[in-house]
Amino acid sequence: MAEEKPLDFTREITSRLGGETITRCYQCGTCASTCPVARITERYNPRQLIRLALLGQRDEVLKGDTIWLCASCYNCQERCPQKVEVADVIYALRNMAIQEGNIPAIYMEFASGLMGEGRLAPISKFLEKKRAEYGLPPLKPANIEALRKILAATGFDKIMFKKEGACP
């Protein structure tokens, strides 16, 4: 695939909700140093991820494994001296990846849960019985109609069915 011009990918990111601050990064490495995932595995380094994005490596970023390894702990965003919203930028990158059909299986499951019952975790009959045993009130159902209207308005449902080539 042809080399993307760096500025275009950068502009794509900065024009998205969550991605606005990526260009502030001056590669100091604070995020990588404070990241619990980076401390455990070499597979992930948020500083390097941002660098790849700013250099326009669209495919590597959006089709790769790295963006899915953030644990959303927000340590990076908290300590960044340039106030780059690192965790939010990664959300934006994930949003972009999913829009292009790169969605890991687990996220498909989350989405199905949401679109199905309005909850991430469906409740089982066993649990309902247990709740009653302990005197907990029965679980009120979510307003699934309202939720589906929201999902339709944002195009969430269309995002979900665009899955081509799930990532590793």
């Binding site: 100091c28 140093s33 300590r79 106030k83």
Partner: protein, 802 residues
């Protein structure tokens, strides 16, 4: 008023301008204007024979007003004015018109129309000058004495310069001893000279007797005219430039400087011991103390916060020269100075707010100033870097750069000198202790000055390690009492946990804690980071917007010692220039208030960018505005603000504005609708000039009325222009953040907005009025704007005035 006799001198620029403009027609036109008694045409009138012609006419009494069409307007104005003055005519009774750049060149494709415009331009100049009254010069006293606030490197340099030049100098310092921050630094980069040495430049009076460099040997305190007051702060400033009355408060020293012989007997018997802040609390001092090894003044001082005074008084008993007076009170000293120089320097940012680094919590996390005291052979550890927690020598030392600098959460700027300081300290440590393990964690290494890169080379040669990465956290392992620095080595792409005995934070450099208060007392500005703001760093460095008050050194922005020296000398020269004649002579091109009209609305004192307007009681219980002739810069922003027209510029009265508006629009002959452009005399006019100089073309129906600053424009001027025949009005001023009078073009913008609303209310299209902010290099934009405005107004059709 005497009879007005106008002489008009038309220069045709060696015939060039005459090729486009019909000079015959111009001459006849001008001759017919009432009040014109003499018209001459020539090649040049601002020098040589041409200038002589003007001078002779003046001397002969034939003319008492002068209009010159000349081609190098700025230079010619000055030359002609000078000649007129020498000939006995008030130099403000003249006007120069640039027929070349404002008419011939830009309209050379339409010579007939250009000529008509030239007529209008000349008419406007003639009408203006007819209404001009003489403007006198005034002299204001300039006391040949200077107050220097701050006794650090910059302050001492500036003070010494001025004292040598013969000015009376008061050098005040809020601490009990001179030296400031730099005195604690041990050595200065890039030469590794000892800190004490660099503090004194060559002294004129003593050059044969003292060392050229060393304050220890230069006898700074013995320079005549140099009065040093320590323990002193400015509390009030009254008066004005050339004649300030400054009230200085001196905290009591309790020790008479003239009697103290620094024998140390007092300290030896003093029962009170406290941590020594000067030595980063690594050692103790007594309540009565003197910083070592060498200070000015060489006299002890009592710390009033901890001394027991008369409950103890042991020091008084033992002092051999009876120098101690425990009853000394603070005193107020009033100084009369002509000029003030601010040299209050900077200080280290307190990094305790950056909680992830645990400064203030872990004793082995320190700053550069604290390390400097350790590395000083005269210091509390005799030159050895130690761990404050257990006193042992620190072997593994990690420096962290950009602590609180380049950080949007704390101080967004780069503090400029910390990389060099770390390299300096790292090398000093490695030199004295080759087995030390020194690592510098950095984002960038900035060694931009002369000879600075060699520091970086040397550090690498000495085995200092560099990790490109900003530590996210400093941890402490209680089992081993070791610090752990968590950082990513980006170049290795490896996460490190560096073990350290001592962590040195290169913390940011921020303004002195008194900067804000001092800025308010002096009436000068701070920039967004809290440092004192220069008027224009490029062309007027070390000046502020208040004449007579100058700023230099670290107080303006963190800088190294060589640069601080340079800066100090600059401020000294400016102060000297300002005061050297013993008086300030100023042409009174200022605003004046018609006190009877003034309604005391208080708008003008607030808007004046120079604080030149005050409210004075009129005696009948009312107040009226009064303009300080010394402080007024003649911009006219006050004029633009006054709702009743009670304030007027002597060099541009309301009647002169009206006359010019009428004149510029009276001679039409243009094929296009007339557009009047009010242009300021700074950037705005520069843009008009440059469009002409580059021969860019725009319609001759665009006529330019020059004002000092667009801030002088009122809504009524705009309406007047429309009434007088303009189909469109342009306002051309400086960029909003670059107005040469601070706020003028922003104020103009507000008037333009108001005028647009009024136009709409009258049923006139508001697009007929536009404001443009241009600079000199945007001549093309002016030409485009003029063309676009004309086209727009053409499309809108003729103006329907009810």
């Amino acid at each position: 008023m005497e009879e007005v006799k106008v002489g008009v001198f038309l220069s045709d620029c060696g015939g060039q301008v005459a090729k486009i403009l019909d000079f015959e027609a111009l001459t006849s036109f001008v001759k017919a204007v009432p009040g014109v008694v003499l018209v001459a045409r020539g090649s040049e009138f601002w020098r040589g024979q041409g200038l002589q012609t003007i001078v002779e006419a003046v001397k002969a009494g034939r003319i008492n007003r002068v209009v010159v069409a000349e081609t190098v307007p700025k230079i010619s104005e000055v030359a002609i004015a000078k000649a007129l003055e020498e000939a006995g005519l008030n130099p403000h009774l003249m006007e120069v018109v640039d027929l070349k750049n404002h008419c011939a060149w830009p309209h050379k494709d339409a010579p007939k129309e250009a000529t008509e415009k030239a007529k209008a331009m000349l008419l406007a100049a003639i009408e203006k000058v007819k209404l001009q009254e003489p403007i006198e010069k005034a002299e204001f006293p300039a006391v040949k004495s200077v107050l220097v606030i701050g006794g650090g490197v910059a302050g001492m340099q500036a003070a010494e310069d001025l004292a040598d030049m013969g000015f009376q100098v008061y050098l005040i310092e809020k601490e009990p001893f001179l030296g400031g921050l730099a005195a604690r630094a041990v050595r200065f980069f890039p030469t590794d000279d000892c800190a004490i040495c660099i503090q004194s430049p060559a002294s004129l009076a003593a050059v044969t007797q003292t060392s050229r460099k060393c304050v220890y040997r230069s006898g700074l305190s013995e320079i005549t005219n140099l009065n040093i007051l320590t323990n002193a702060k400015v509390v009030r400033v009254e008066g004005g430039p050339g004649n300030f009355k400054v009230t200085v408060e001196r905290k009591p020293r309790y020790v008479d400087e003239k009697k103290c012989v620094a024998c140390d007997l007092c300290a030896s018997v003093c029962p009170v011991e406290v941590p020594d802040e000067y030595n980063a609390k690594l050692s103790k001092r007594k309540a009565i103390y003197m910083n070592k090894p060498l200070v000015y003044p060489p006299a002890y001082v009592i710390d009033a916060k901890v001394c027991k005074f008369h409950e103890c008084a042991k020091c008084v008993e033992v002092c051999p020269t009876k120098a101690i007076n425990l009853d000394q009170k603070p005193e107020h000293v009033t100084l009369n100075v002509g000029s003030i120089i601010v040299a209050t320097g900077f200080r280290e940012y307190d990094p305790s707010v950056i909680k992830e680094y645990h400064y203030g919590e872990y004793p082995d996390v320190i700053t550069h100033l604290e390390l400097a005291r350790m590395l000083d052979a005269f210091g509390p550890t005799g030159g050895m870097p130690i761990r404050p927690s257990d006193g042992r020598r620190a072997k593994r030392i990690v420096f962290v750069q950009c602590v609180g600098s380049r950080d949007r959460r704390w101080n967004p700027y780069c503090s400029s000198i910390c990389c060099m300081i770390s390299l300096k300290h790292a090398a000093m440590i490695k030199e004295a202790f080759p087995d030390a393990d020194v690592t510098i964690c950095y984002i960038d290494i900035r060694t931009t000055g002369r000879e600075h890169e060699y520091y970086y080379e040397r550090a690498r040669e000495m085995g200092v390690k560099f990790v490109k990465g900003r530590p996210s956290e400093i941890l402490h392992d209680p089992a081993t009492n070791t610090l752990i620095v968590e950082v990513e080595d980006e170049l290795l792409r490896r996460l490190l946990e560096l073990e350290a005995d001592l962590v040195v934070l290169a913390t940011a450099m921020v303004p002195s804690e008194d900067a804000k208060e001092l800025a308010q007392i002096l009436g000068i500005e701070l920039d967004q980071d809290g440092f004192f703001k220069e008027y224009n760093a490029k062309l007027r460095p070390t000046e502020t917007k208040r004449r007579g008050i100058f700023i230099c050194g670290g107080a303006v922005f963190p800088k190294d010692v060589p640069t601080a020296s340079l800066h100090a000398h600059s401020a000294a020269v400016k102060a000297a220039k300002f005061l050297m004649n013993g008086k300030i002579t100023k042409a009174l091109k200022v605003a004046t208030v018609h006190q009877d009209y003034c309604g005391n609305c208080q708008f003008c004192p607030v808007t004046c960018p120079y604080g030149a307007i005050t409210l004075e009681p009129k005696g009948d219980g009312h107040f009226a505005a009064k303009v300080s002739e010394l402080l007024c810069e003649g911009c006219g922003v006050c004029v633009g603000t006054c709702p009743v027209g009670a304030i007027e510029l002597r060099h541009l009265k309301a009647s002169q504005i009206s006359a010019q508006i009428k004149a510029l629009l009276s001679v039409n002959g243009a094929s296009k609708p007339l557009v009047l452009a009010f242009s300021c005399s700074e950037c705005g006019n520069a843009a008009v000039d440059s469009s002409g100089m580059a021969m860019m073309s725009y319609p001759a129906s665009v006529r330019v009325l020059r004002v000092p600053c667009t801030g002088v424009i009122q809504v009524q001027h705009i309406l007047e222009a429309f009434k007088a025949g303009a189909q469109g009005v342009m306002v051309v001023g400086c960029k909003p953040d670059g107005c040469h009078y601070e706020v003028g073009s922003q104020k103009a913008k507000q008037k333009v907005e108001m005028a647009k609303m009024l136009l709409q209310a009258y049923g006139i299209e508001p697009e007929r009025l536009e404001m443009f902010n241009l600079v000199f290099i945007e001549g093309d934009k002016f030409a485009e704007a003029a063309k676009a405005m004309t086209e727009k107004v053409e499309k809108l059709g003729p103006l329907q005035l009810a």
